[in-house]
């Protein structure tokens, strides 16, 4: 701080001038480089008193012995002015931070799109912290990896995915410790994992929400940057605001995904099962897996001949009504509607969810279906729709099968074919099951043994039982 600057202030100037005049003697104030700032440069000034600020001489007061109190006064004023300045500077810094946070929050607060909000966060962070690249990494709940959601930088392309396992790398360490870090010499840090962007210095801060860390923000510089505690503090402030908004966006995105899955599922399974699936903590798998399930086939006997009596649009109306009732019964017993093939209905018990007493529930559903047909209000349906039902259980491959353009949740395997075969043997009103179904439910229902039949393409014959109801 220069002495000139203080002495040019109007009130200081008049006060010091007044004191010098009152003292009478020849008194002068000089800057440290010898320029006379105030008073008369009396020749052969006897005394020389320094004006000091934090150990440095910034000027002199010369003159008679009376110059001493003048020097004391100026010294006092200088210190006061210096303190005031420092305080103002500190306050202004805080003021800048507040204004920055205001703007930051204003910008990101209403954004619910994850990609958009993380991009904004990076832009704003880079605007305020000197860097050549920055990224937002979030924990992928499924893979337990930290994944780059958004990044900026010279070499960044959106396809870049850096996936250090959690706990590996500087980002992983920060994620676990929840404490922000400065690494000013990256090459000396053994934890560093090379990414798309070269970095000499970096800062990494955790994205902390109320009770957990959801990810981190990395800021790095290609040239050594000597990040300071103040830089880190700023990053920390930005991330703590960003974390809440990002969490919100993630939540929103998951909710949307859930809604999509839900509306898809509701076409195939009962609402209560959808709810059970959505609520269940375990992951419901739609990728094909081997699973023990029960399959039910139901088909209208002599459908084609029956239909010839009616115009097609009438038939469609009857079919829709019939299917609606049948699906309702299937859902009641916790079954999953797989598909309609013409007038045939295929249903699963045990996939994708609810795996207990599959055989029992399938038979209950079959009995329910046979009885329900008799109560459908349309008399024509009651008179003309006679269905045969076949049920089999066993290990099949079940899951989403198809081409990327069209996927169906379906089951594949011999046991499925056998179920279909049983159905084709069943006469109107009959429910035929295999031995595996019979064994699982023989205490619960009455059966008549039909005997063994040869199934096309199978060496072993299939034992057939009819359910009495």
């Amino acid at each position: 701080m220069k002495l000139q600057k203080i002495l040019t202030q109007q009130n200081v100037l008049s006060m010091v001038n007044g004191v010098i005049t009152a003292m009478g003697g020849p008194i002068a104030v000089h800057s440290c480089d010898g320029v006379c700032l105030l008073g008369q440069n009396g020749n052969g000034a006897a005394q020389k008193y320094p004006i000091e600020l934090s150990g440095n001489v910034i000027g002199w007061v010369t003159g008679t012995a009376e110059a001493m109190p003048v020097a004391a006064l100026i010294n006092h004023l200088v210190v006061r002015e210096y303190e005031r300045k420092m305080l103002a500077r500190e306050t202004l810094d805080r003021y800048k931070e507040i204004s920055l946070i205001y703007k930051f929050v204003d910008k990101i607060a209403l954004c619910l799109n994850l990609a958009e909000v993380t991009k904004l966060v990076i832009e704003e962070t880079r605007k305020n912290i000197k860097s050549t690249s920055a990224s937002v990494m979030l924990l992928n709940q499924r893979t337990r990896n930290l994944e780059i959601i958004s990044a900026s930088g010279k070499e960044y392309s959106p396809k870049t995915t850096l996936k250090p396992g959690v706990g590996i790398g500087i980002a992983g360490t920060v994620f676990f410790s929840g404490k922000a870090e400065i690494v000013n010499n990256v090459s000396l840090d053994p934890r560093y994992v090379k990414g798309a962007n070269r970095a000499s210095s970096l800062m990494c801060a955790p994205l902390k929400t109320r009770d957990k860390v959801i990810g981190v923000i990395n800021v790095s510089s290609e040239e050594p940057a000597d990040y300071t505690a103040a830089n880190l503090q700023l990053l920390h402030m930005l991330t703590s605001q960003a974390a809440l908004v990002i969490e919100n966006a993630v939540f929103h995105e998951n909710k949307l995904k859930e809604e999509r899955i839900k509306s898809n599922l509701e076409r195939y399974v009962a609402p209560q099962i959808v709810k059970a699936i959505m609520d269940s903590k375990e992951n419901i798998v739609f990728t094909p897996i081997k699973k023990n399930i029960t399959v039910l086939f139901s088909d209208i006997r002599n459908f084609t001949t029956t239909c010839e009596q009616q115009p097609p649009e009438k038939i469609v109306g009857y079919l829709n009504e019939y299917f609606t009732h049948m699906v309702d019964v299937i859902f009641t017993y916790g079954g999953t509607l797989n598909k309609f093939v013409g007038d045939m209905i295929v249903a699963f018990f045990g996939a994708p969810a609810m795996a207990e007493q599959n055989e029992k529930r399938a038979i209950e559903a079959a009995i329910g279906m046979q009885k329900r047909i008799k109560t459908i209000p349309a008399q024509w349906i009651q008179n003309n729709f006679h269905t045969g039902i076949g049920i089999n259980s066993g290990e099949v491959v079940v899951g989403n099968i198809g081409s990327p353009h069209h996927m169906d949740y379906t089951a594949i395997g011999d046991e499925v074919n056998t179920g279909s075969r049983l159905q084709s043997m069943a006469k109107g009103g009959q429910i035929l099951v295999s031995r595996s179904v019979y064994e699982a439910t023989k205490e619960l229902f009455a059966f008549t043994e039909i005997g063994s039949v040869q199934v096309k393409g199978k060496n072993k014959s299939v034992e057939v039982f009819e359910v009495q109801y």
Binding site: R89, L92, Y95, S99
Partner: protein, 126 residues
Amino acid sequence: MAKILIVDDEPHIRLLLKQTLEELEDQGVALLTAENGEQALATVRQEVPELVFLDVMMPKMNGFNVCRAIREDGALKHIHIVMLTAKGQEFDRQKGNEVGADGYMTKPFDPDEVVDKAREVLGMSR
């Protein structure tokens, strides 16, 4: 020498604005202050600054009246006037236009914005 006048009845705001504009002061811009409307008007007439940061809410003569008085004086018409208004208290744009203000900023002000504005008005590059 270019001059900027800072008008606010609150001493800490004057101090903060002065501190904000210190870098311009180092480049030879004179920073003047006034703590009420009357003082502001007197300083404007005497010093004719290029730019005035003018608080709206002040006792006695408020910022709008100061602004109008400056605009009514033919010799002072060119002065750039930025009104300062507290956050939360909606700035009356219509009133601001009426009295001929060039713009406004809300307090807590953004220091960078203040410096940028000053440089722009004074034609100084960053």
